[in-house]
Amino acid sequence: MRELVGRPYHEIRPRLGKDLSVRELVDAYLENIARLDGQVRAYLTVSADQARAQARELDDRLARGEPLPPLAGVPVAVKDNLCTRGVRTTCGSRILEPFVPPYDATAVQRLREAGAVLLGKTNLDEFAMGSSTENSGFFATRNPWRLDHVPGGSSGGSAAAVAAGEALAALGSDTGGSIRQPASLCGVVGLKPTYGRVSRYGLVAFASSLDQIGPLSLDVRDCALVLQAICGRDPHDSTSVDLPVPDFVASLEAGVRGVRVGVPAEFFGEGLQPEVRQAVLEAVRVLEGLGARVEEVALPTLEYALPTYYLIACAEASSNLARYDGVAYGYRSPRAHDLYTLYARTRAEGFGPEVKRRIMLGTFALSEGYYEGFYKKAQQVRTLVRRDFDRCFQTVDVLATPTSPVAGFRLGERTADPLQMYLADVYTIPVNLAGLPGISVPCGFVEGLPVGLQLVGRPFEEATVLRVAYAYEQATEWHRHRCPLLRA
C-alpha cells in the first residue's frame, strides 16, 4: 500500500469505493507514520483507533451507496493548537499537557463533516511562538528533506507530516507566517486565508488580531479542496465574516493571462539567500511566460513590519495567555501555597523560555509609561503597512515574493539568538499585519532543501491567489518532488 502515500487526494479520490477503501488509505498512512515518525517526529499524538473507526464508518456509507462527501477519506493531521474532542490538545506546552477538550474547533468539525479522517495532532512551537518547531515543550520536529534541518514553524509538524507522507493534508495556524514558512521549508503548499475567512473557534489564541487557520497540502488543487471545507461564517467567532465563499476549485484553471503580478523590490534586498532570490525571480519569469504582466512595486514599510508585528503579537499574547493560571484546566504547580504562587509557579513551570520572553515583552509594551511609545506606535505603523499594500493592489492583482529569506537552517543554529529566529518570518509577517491571503508553493531547491514562492492577494481574493499558484505549479514540476525519506 506504499504506492498510495504521497499522492494528492484528487488522484486518489476516483478510486475510492471502487478498488480502494477508506480503511486501506488510512491504514497506508498509519503504516507510514509508524515507519517514519520515529525520525521525523511530526506528531505529538496519533489517534489511530479513532481514525480506523472513522474510516470504517465512511466505508459503510460508501457501501450503502451514499454520495462521497468532498473530503471523503482524506487522512488529515491537525496542528495541536486546534481543539479536538476527546483527543488531547497540548499546544506544544507542558501547561496544557493534560488538556483533553470536550469540543471540536469549528475548522476541525468542518473537516470531519466533509469526510476527512483525523490521524492525529502535530507538533508546533509552544503556543505557536517560533519559526522552527524547536520551541515545542516536548521535542523538535525534523525536516523530512534533511533530518539535521528544521521543518520551519510554528506549524512545523503539519508541514513535515505532509512532506513525509504522514498525512495527505493538514491544518496549521498562521499568525506571522506559521503556515507559509514551514510549507516553504518542507516543500509543500500552505495557505493563510484572509483574516475573517475561517472561524478560529477552538483555536488556542495567540495573537487574536492576526491568527488564521489554513491548509497545508501536496499541491494547489488539494489546498483549494481543504480550504473550501473550512471557510465561512461561524456564530462562535464574531470575527468570521459573512461573505459568500466562492468555488475555489472551479476557478483554478482560469490561467494568468493579463493578471498583473507585482514584485516588491524591498523583498529582494539584504538578508535574502542568493539562490532563493534566483529561484523566486525565475518563478516570476514563468508566470510572465504564461501571460501575466509583471511590474515592480514598492512596500517601503517592510523593514518596520517585523518590530511592529512582535510588539502587537506579544501584547496580545500576554493578555491571551493570562488564562493559563492552573485553576480550571491544564497543569497546576504542586508547589503553590496561595493564589499568587498558584499563578506564578504554575506559569513558571508550565511555560517554556520563548513563551515567557514574549509574555514579558508584551506586558512591558502594554505597561504604564511604555504603552504610547511601543504598543500604540506599533498599531499606527500597522496602518502604514496596510496602506502600502492597498497602494500596490491599485495597480497589481497579486504580489510575488520569497516566502522565507533562506531555504532552511540547521537544528540549534538560531536557538541562542531570539532576534535571528524572528527574522525567519520577515517576508510573511507584513501579510498578517494587513490581514491578506497568502500562499507558499514550491519553486526550487537549494542543496536538497525546498524553496517557496509566496503569492499574496487582496482581502478575500483567495481564489485569485490559488489560480495564480495553480498556473505556476502546473507549468513546473516542483510539486511532484517527494523527499528521499518517503521514496526510500
Partner: protein, 98 residues
Amino acid sequence: MRITPEVVERVARLSRLELTEEERATFASQLSSILEYFARLDRLRTEGVEPTSHAIRVTNVFRPDEVTPSLPVEAVVAMAPQAHEGFVVVPRVLEAEE
C-alpha cells in the same frame, strides 16, 4: 533601550511569572537587544495616523438573546486539576478569621 533586572522583575510580577535569578539576567539582556532593534520604529513619523487594531473592520456583532445548549458542567469540571463535588478547588483566597 536598557532593561535592568529590576524592570524584568517588575514585569514578571505583572505577568504572574516566578523567575529564577538566571532567567532575570538572561531576559534583561535579551529584552534589551530586542527593544533596541524595535527602536527603529521611532524613525517613522506617525502623528495623526489612525492605529489599526484589526485588519478588517469589526463592529459589534449581535445575536438573538436565546438560550442555546452549552457544555455540561461535569465535562467542564472534569478538566480541572483539582475538583470536589462539582466545584474547582483552589488555595484559600481569604485569610481565615481567628
